[in-house]
């Protein structure tokens, strides 16, 4: 291993500009003549728009234009779409309601945009926005997914009865029912997977610039996948043909999924820029972000697990209602279906599984993928069921897991996925050693002397990453393929630029991708730069989410590097006057087998461009290669997290005292970055388990609409993590990588809740398990109480 190659804990290249305030985020980009967009948003969760009067607003100082949904329709700007088709059990297609970028006749959630003011300054825009008069007829709202389908619930979209988008299922019901009928033990749980607000550090932003001279549109936006944004905005919204629209996602300050999607604001900025013939910028403030960023999770589930007398799992069934909010966001339909039910086998050999999912509309912000997307929900169901079953049957929870682990690979689950590699016993064993599970009983007694109830919770999770084989997702309804592209440009002086379709918004690609190139070409790490996020530079790409940039994005780079090596060997053969087949490449040097003749990588690069040694007829000049890589399978990162915590008997306050994470991510490019990803993921998962939760009141107002009411995890809420690794290579990609971006958020909620319920002796506690909730649960449990 070289100091900067694969496996080295290289410091992140990008951090210098980030931590010295020199990042270039969308809001930092300014264009001459820039105007500001200020949106007029609905204060009601559900209302008819009787009229909109913009005349007073138009007369306000600094106002350039005020635009409404009616004009959007006149200009034939298309609706936002959800790009993944799901069919109901009865074969009918999902019911996607119209989602105009500006509501013209009806609003369906608080924050729905009804008009936009284009003004010289934000302050002028805000002053004018207050003068837009919207006459609403307020309608009753429904916010709870469990109530959305009920008789008499307000119908949100015309023709969509019971607010039901689809009623989907997966697995063989008959087999599952038979297994349950024969089971010795059945564990049942009602679970709510709480709604979360992503809260990326950088709020969403868009800057649109129409060039009347060329009729070209440029959009800077906070996107995790600028090419997909361009495709959707061109093909579905009809804003401009793809070759007349450039999308640039510069530095992006976190996404967690929420910046995958195409949002109304960027569409409106593009449209408005063409109308006013000036650049139009919008930057969300934090209050808007709470209301309008796609939220995550929000499932209501009844789940059951059947076991035999020895604790062998026979079957699992689940019925889930998934809240998709007021409109179907870009990938929302796939999250509670193919990203959820397909993972209900966990790390276990479960012969039959059946899952039904109803997706519903409510008068809340749209819900879509959020770090883990479907897999945290699945892990929570499986890991809670296993834990409760073990306790009910008097079997040690680790032991019950071991009895059911899949140990032979490949393993076909009853829910589509074919796990290709893993060693679940290894990660459990290592985690138990690091966490010193043996010493737990003693620590528990010691904690009791301090008025604390100590608990220990496991989560042996699995996820499907490296999203995804195009053929597979195509057969499941995806509107796009999920391959990745790369272009490797070697310059005449031997330095290298890699253009990738992956997008970095915190992951550290500029470092890890450079490590790969440094290792493969034997050139200094500093001589490699990574270019991404601009549709004019990178030909095409599917972006970053689903822990795919390593397994898929880097695999595309590997393929392009393979081609570079082949071409460079040809050039070297001319230079060294040897047969191509005799050229060997190692550590940045081309040698002729069995001789001492050699050429350095830089010399070969120079010769490729000066082309003096060969004629164009024999070999084309230049050294640049492109590849598209389509994975053959998902990857399956898995591992074991163990949470140890104290519950304060008097107040219900939970303190996490120990956290152990042992993950199998396959090949690791940069262990320091991987550890960082694990840390952040655990923090988000602990946030979900103990603190976070978007709460709407019955009228559809977001009560947790600011940091004063929405609890984010802080550094002091978390202990120092003990992080370990085990490794089985992913067989489906050339590097053997599995992905690490989401694991922490997937594994941790179940570990926390398993530990709390272990501590207080209850079967379940809903997330977020706030001190108040834990205290209330303690009052009903058998655990020792405070005086």
């Amino acid at each position: 291993m070289s100091a900067t190659g694969i496996g080295a804990p290289v410091r992140r290249k990008e951090d210098f500009r980030f931590i010295t305030g020199q990042g270039q985020y969308t809001d930092d980009v300014t264009r001459p003549g820039e105007t500001r967009a200020v949106f007029v948003r609905s204060p009601h969760a559900h209302a008819k728009i009787k009229s909109i009067d913009v005349s007073a607003a138009r007369k306000m100082p600094g106002v350039i234009d005020v635009l409404t949904g009616a004009q959007l329709a006149t200009d034939k700007i298309g609706n936002l779409i959800c790009g993944w088709m799901i069919h109901s059990k009865d074969g009918s297609p999902m019911k996607m309601a119209a989602h105009p970028a500006l509501a013209a006749t009806k609003v369906n959630c608080v924050g729905d945009a009804v008009a936009v003011v284009i003004a010289e300054t934000i302050a002028q825009g805000k002053d004018a926005a207050e003068k837009v008069k919207v006459d609403y007829e307020v309608l009753p709202a429904v916010v709870d997914p469990a109530k959305a389908q009920a008789k008499g619930a307000p119908q949100i979209h015309p023709d969509i009865e019971n607010n039901t988008i689809y009623q989907w299922h997966l697995g063989e019901k008959k087999d599952v029912d038979a297994a349950f009928a024969a089971a010795k033990h059945v564990t049942k749980l009602d679970i709510v997977n709480n709604r979360l607000v992503p809260n990326a550090m950088e709020p969403r932003a868009a800057l649109a610039d129409y060039d009347a001279g060329t009729d070209n549109l440029t959009l800077w936006n906070t996107s995790q996948n600028p090419h997909v944004a361009r495709l959707v905005i061109s093909a579905f919204i009809g804003m401009a043909p793809e070759h007349k629209l450039r999308v640039i996602a510069p530095d992006v300050g976190g996404g967690f999924g929420s910046k995958i999607f195409i949002y109304p604001e960027e569409v409106v900025c593009l449209w408005a820029s063409r109308k006013v013939k000036r650049p139009v910028k919008w930057t969300s403030d934090r209050s808007e972000a709470f209301l309008t960023d796609a939220h995550g999770r929000d499932h209501v589930t009844h789940a059951e697990m059947a076991l035999d007398a020895n604790g062998k799992i026979l079957a699992l069934r689940a019925k889930t209602i998934a809240n998709l909010g007021a409109y179907m966001s870009t990938f929302s339909s796939s999250v509670p279906t193919y990203l959820y039910a397909t993972l209900l086998s966990g790390q276990y050999n479960i012969p039959s599984i059946y899952c039904e999912v109803d997706a519903v509309y409510t008068n809340t912000a749209p819900v879509d993928a959020y770090r883990g997307a479907g897999r945290p929900e699945a892990t929570f169901v499986v890991e809670r069921l296993v834990e409760v079953a073990a306790r009910q049957m008097g079997i040690d929870p680790a032991d019950l897991r071991r009895r059911n682990f899949i140990t032979a690979f490949p393993h076909q689950t009853p829910v589509i996925m074919a796990y290709d590699a893993g060693d679940y016993n290894a990660s459990l064993k290592k985690a138990m050693e690091i966490a010193d599970v043996k010493g737990f009983a003693k620590r528990k007694r010691e904690a009791a002397r301090r008025g604390k109830l100590r608990g220990l919770g496991y989560s042996t999770y699995i996820e499907a990453c490296g999203i995804a084989p195009s053929q597979a997702v195509g057969s499941l309804g995806a509107g796009v393929g999920l391959w990745e592209s790369a272009e490797v440009r070697v310059n005449p002086t031997g330095s290298v630029e890699v253009l990738t379709g992956s997008h970095a918004h915190g992951q550290g690609h500029e470092t890890t991708f450079a490590q790969l190139v440094s290792e493969r070409l034997g050139i200094p790490f500093e001589n490699v730069s990574i270019v991404h996020g601009d549709t004019d530079k990178v030909q095409f790409g599917m972006g970053t989410y689903g822990s795919r940039s390593g397994a898929v994005g880097m695999s595309a780079i590997v393929k392009a590097l393979d081609k570079i090596e082949i071409k460079a060997k040809k050039v070297a053969a001319f230079m060294l006057e040897a047969a191509e087949g005799d050229i060997e490449f190692k550590d940045g040097k081309f040698t002729v087998a069995g001789t001492d003749k050699s050429a350095a990588f830089g010399d070969v690069a120079l010769n490729a461009y000066i082309a003096h040694k060969f004629t164009g007829a024999e070999l084309e000049p230049g050294l640049k290669e492109t590849s598209f890589y389509d994975p053959t399978n998902f990857t399956f990162p898995a591992g074991c997290h163990i949470c140890e915590l104290d519950v304060d008997i008097e107040t219900g306050r939970v303190d996490i005292v120990n956290w152990t994470a042992v993950d199998d991510f396959g090949t690791i490019i940069n262990p320091m970055i991987v550890e960082g990803q694990v840390h952040g993921g655990i923090a988000q998962g602990v946030g979900q388990a103990l603190m976070e939760g978007a709460f709407y009141d019955a009228a559809g107002q977001l009560v947790t609409g600011s940091m004063m009411d929405y609890t984010m995890p802080r550094a002091h809420d978390l202990p120092s993590f003990h992080v370990g690794l085990t490794e089985t290579k992913a067989p489906s990609n050339p590097l053997g990588m599995k992905g690490c971006g989401e694991a922490g958020a997937i594994a941790s909620p179940a570990a926390v809740i398993n530990a709390i319920t272990d501590a207080i002796g209850t079967e379940h506690i809903a997330m977020p398990a706030t001190a108040n909730a834990v205290w209330a649960a303690l009052q009903k449990s058998q655990a020792p109480k405070a005086a």
């Binding site: 302050a123 805000k126 002053d127 207050e130 209050s287 008097e650 107040t651 219900g652 306050r653 603190m691 709460f695 009560v703 947790t704 940091m707 004063m708 009411d709 929405y710 609890t711 984010m712 706030t770 001190a771 108040n772 205290w775 209330a776 405070a786 005086a787």
Partner: protein
């Protein structure tokens, strides 16, 4: 934020004059309560009278048997005051528990008390020590000052200049942080100064900071957690929101009072 005129007086008298001439003007101290509501366009004062250049409004001094703190003294400066830590560390702990370093370095005692946020920490200390709020017009006892959520005895144009806290031999604050905001979900300040025993609670009451007379009575026998063991306060009159039920808040009042008493005796 809407437009406003900005004034920077250098004396209390000038500041009072500016307020008199600008009836819907507002004093600006640390700005950590006022500016957020202005940014959200929920407040629109026509004039801002910034107190930061007014002389004689900062500092922590021991004067006889009282600690006197200038209204413009930042939370961090009170928390770190050696004078205060020497005579009454229990009071220094109150600003020390506020917010984060940015908030502590800007927010002021005068602003906090004038604002009387029902979850703020200082009101518990004022009531829990029987402080005197000294304005440009008069001296107001803490017992008369806090008149309900976000409301005080301050009159139009009245400026807090100082707050005088009598030094109590035993004093301690115990705070259970609001999970999101970091304010007090419940905070209890206890003190004993001769026969004067006080237990003041912030965060819990639906009408702002209040004293728990039943606890105070029970503590007269012995100023110890034991004296209120098993005692509770009714949940009625407690705040209720998504963060805590009235029952939980009432329960916390008793728990935190016991913990504060143990701390005060330590």
């Amino acid at each position: 934020m809407y437009n406003f005129t900005f004034h920077r007086p250098t004396t209390v008298r000038q500041a009072a004059g500016l307020l008199a001439r600008n009836p819907d003007g507002k004093l600006l101290a640390g700005g950590h309560s006022l500016l957020p509501v202005m940014k959200q366009r929920l407040a629109s004062p026509s004039a801002i009278v910034d107190l930061s250049l007014v002389e004689g409004m900062t500092g922590v001094e021991l004067k006889g048997r009282s600690v006197v703190i200038g209204a413009m003294t930042r939370h961090a400066d009170v928390a770190n005051s050696q004078v205060l830590k020497d005579v009454m560390p229990g009071l220094a702990a109150v600003p020390g528990s506020i917010g984060d370093p940015q908030v502590r370095n800007r927010g002021t005692i005068g602003g906090s008390i004038a604002n009387n946020d029902p979850n703020a920490d200082y009101p518990a200390a004022c009531l829990g020590l029987g402080a005197t709020i000294i304005t440009n017009k008069r001296r107001i006892a803490a017992d008369d000052f806090f008149t309900g959520m976000f409301s005080t005895a301050l009159e139009e144009g009245e400026i807090i200049v100082k707050v005088a806290f009598p030094v109590a031999k035993k004093a301690a604050y115990e705070k259970f942080k609001h999970p999101a905001s970091g304010f007090a979900l419940v905070g209890v300040f206890v003190s004993k100064r001769g026969p004067d025993i006080r237990v003041a609670v912030t965060g819990a009451g639906s009408n702002g900071v209040f004293r728990v007379k039943s606890f105070e009575e029970a503590l007269k026998k012995r100023f110890s957690p034991k004296s209120i063991e098993g005692m509770t306060i009714p949940a009625s009159g407690m705040n209720s929101d998504i963060h805590a039920s009235p029952e939980y808040r009432a329960h916390l009042v008793a728990v935190l009072a016991r913990r504060a008493l143990a701390k005060a005796n330590a």
